[in-house]
């Protein structure tokens, strides 16, 4: 148990254990079965050999049919895990997710649950350019009935995926493409990350950095630099973007009186806007300065390295925003 595990291995174990525990768990997606390589990021490696190609199905290139099949199976009580290779490809399956998966419980008056999971990956920084790198969590956060989450370390990836599979509602899990090789302590098979619950990954008293996914590592780095200036930052990993843990965030910020929200998605109309708006709504009189947001530049994701770097926010941006916020307070 002291061995380290990679993000990809953690996901693989979560799928493996979930399939072993519950025969209603099935998988489908492009190239996910072993004959097709066990997933292009090897997350489903070995699973079709172990559980058969009836339960682990490589699909045609047909994302609407993939999600639709998952929806149909889910309302009969199965727990499908569908893989959409890259998040941008979810754009061809929005109807099944938004008009169907998210709404069938409500529109049926509670008669049909849609306990499906969509795993997908994305992220800038690997040179995949404009159509393979987008972070679209804010779209789904705006859709009542669906949940969206993303892990920042292998153990949480395990725990979130298992929780999502066991959850009665449709959940989208975003895996950051830069994370697969990241290693960390493995999770026990019983480990679950409850949906909707944030984790305080660093305690601090002077400012709250609210983030998720890739932002967690960056915020921890920023917190280290801020500590050198005597600024003691608390770092919150939301883990679930929607529904998000308002209580954890608000109680932290009520104490620190300052907050910076960090995410990889472009800033305008991103998830950070809701979090910022809520903090101001609830803690207006208590804040020492405005909540800041650090996010990527509002353009499509560029190809050339120099531009991709200009696109992505940096740790320095977080540090700067945090300093601005704390200085603002000194001004008042």
């Amino acid at each position: 148990m002291s061995e380290k595990t990679s993000f990809a291995q953690a996901l693989n174990s979560a799928l493996d254990h979930a399939m072993a525990d519950d025969e209603n768990v099935i998988m489908l997606g492009e190239d996910v079965a072993d004959e097709q390589g066990g997933g292009v990021f090897k997350v489903s490696k070995g699973l079709s050999r172990k559980y058969g190609t009836s339960r682990v199905r490589s699909t045609p290139i047909s994302e609407q049919a993939i999600i639709g099949a998952a929806v149909g199976a889910a309302i009969t009580g199965m727990r499908p895990v569908a893989e959409i290779m890259l998040m941008n490809f979810i754009t061809v399956a929005m109807d099944q997710l938004v008009n169907h998966a998210a709404k069938l419980r409500f529109m049926s008056g509670g008669q049909t649950s849609v306990p499906l999971v969509v795993r997908t990956t994305t992220g800038a920084g690997v040179g995949f350019g404009g159509q393979h790198s987008d972070m679209l969590e804010a779209w789904f956060a705006h859709v009542p009935g669906i949940k969206i989450a993303t892990a920042s370390n292998p153990a949480d990836a395990y725990g979130l995926l298992r929780s999502a599979i066991e959850d009665e509602d449709p959940t989208i899990l975003i895996e950051n493409i830069t994370h697969y090789g990241m290693t960390g302590p493995p999770a026990e098979p019983g480990y679950r990350v409850p949906l909707g619950k944030a984790a305080i990954v660093r305690r601090g008293d002077d400012i709250t950095l609210v983030t998720y996914g890739r932002g967690v590592g960056d915020c921890l780095k920023a917190a280290g630099q801020l500590a050198e200036d005597g600024i003691d930052a608390e770092v919150i990993d939301l883990r679930t973007v929607s529904p998000w843990d308002q209580e954890a965030v608000l109680s932290s910020v009520a104490r620190t009186r300052r907050a910076v929200i960090v995410h990889e998605a472009v800033r305008p109309f991103g998830a950070g806007a809701e979090i910022s708006a809520r903090i101001h709504e609830e803690l207006f009189g208590d804040l020492a300065g405005p909540v800041r947001r650090v996010a990527s530049y509002a353009s499509p994701v560029p190809f050339a390295k120099s531009l991709e770097t200009a696109f992505l926010y940096s740790v320095a941006d977080i540090v700067q925003a945090a300093r601005d916020t704390t200085e603002k307070k000194a001004d008042r």
Binding site: P60, G77, D95, N99, S108, G110
Partner: protein
């Protein structure tokens, strides 16, 4: 359209069942439109007049636990699959006693007990979902089949294509039932569709493509029965097209002047209930049986209408529930 003598499999018992369903659909549709006309109800409604026999005969080939996914124009399918009239009427009227507690409405009828799993308002989106139902049955080793009911216009949308290809590759126990009523909203078939027979598209998926006469109970029943049998036996999917003609505008109240009175009268004549009645009598169904069925159905509808009108609308607070499995803070 001729009405050939049916093979023995469609005997008087089955014929009576089909007549009961068709009559129920026909009367329900008419009653509903009458109530819209006189203002007792105000709901977007997609009439099913002209497609009664398709639903009645096709669903007669299914078991109660077989799955159905249908569309906004789905009153006939839902009734034929067996949803109790009271629940359906109450949902159409937006009442708390309806199938979906008034949350879904006519475009989103769901009733898992009778296998009606999804009614969708998005053209073509039911087909991939039907695959999922069929896949669940296949994985579990059940003999249930899934039916996706949809229109001719829906055969031009991407979801149709993806669903048929996947069903073929996986040999799913699913029947794609295309009710070709010649129109997609106000667009005539040829103006939007590159083939005149939707079932010809089956070639592109390596699956059987069958055309049947949607006015002939035997033609529909036999074709459906064969497709269902194939699916249950592991033989994979079928694209089954039932020819019909939409006898009213796309949605209740819509213009329908683009069909000539002459063509419409001819179509109405072909699809008249009197003709269906005559067909039943030729199939050894007794006049007295038909009368009994009609009486029973009329009473069922009266009861359902009264039930729906008497029922309470949802409490505004009901909106908080059924969004997620466990209630969330707003």
């Amino acid at each position: 359209m001729s009405m050939p003598v049916s093979p023995p499999s469609l005997g008087p018992d089955l014929a009576r069942t089909i007549y009961r369903k068709a009559y129920l659909i026909n009367r329900t549709d008419e009653r509903f439109r009458a109530m819209l006309t006189n203002g007792e109800l105000a709901v977007a409604y997609y009439p099913v007049r002209g497609q009664e026999v398709i639903a009645a005969a096709a669903m007669a080939a299914l078991r109660q636990d077989d799955y159905l996914v249908t569309t906004y124009r789905g009153l006939h399918d839902a009734l034929a699959k067996g949803i109790p009239s009271r629940l359906l009427w109450a949902e159409f009227a937006g009442k708390r006693t309806g199938t979906c507690k008034g949350k879904g409405g006519p475009m989103h009828i769901t009733h898992p007990e009778t296998g009606v799993m999804v009614t969708t308002g998005i053209v073509g989106s039911g087909l991939p979902i039907a695959n999922g139902l069929a896949m669940a049955s296949q994985i579990r080793g059940e003999s249930r089949v899934a039916v996706a009911s949809f229109g001719d216009g829906a055969s031009n949308i991407g979801a149709f294509h993806e669903a048929l290809n996947m069903a073929s590759v996986w040999k799913l126990p699913v029947i794609f039932l295309c009710q070709n009523n010649q129109y997609a909203e106000h667009t005539a078939l040829a103006a939007g569709t590159s083939v005149s027979r939707i079932s010809d598209r089956a070639v592109a998926y390596g699956m059987p493509g069958i055309f049947c006469d949607g006015l002939d109970p035997a033609s529909v029943y036999e074709a459906m029965n064969e497709a269902v049998g194939r699916a249950r036996a592991g033989g994979g999917p079928t694209l089954l097209e039932a020819g019909a003609f939409r006898l009213l505008g796309h949605i209740f109240g819509a213009d329908y002047s683009y069909v000539s009175r002459q063509d419409l009268h001819a179509a109405e004549e072909r699809a008249s209930m009197a003709k269906l009645r005559q067909w039943m009598i030729e199939r050894q169904v007794r006049e007295s049986d038909l009368e009994r069925i009609e009486k029973e159905v009329d009473a069922e509808i009266n009861d359902a209408v009264a039930f729906a009108l008497d029922s309470e609308p949802p409490d505004p607070d009901d909106i908080r529930f059924d969004i997620y499995a466990t209630e969330q803070a707003a």
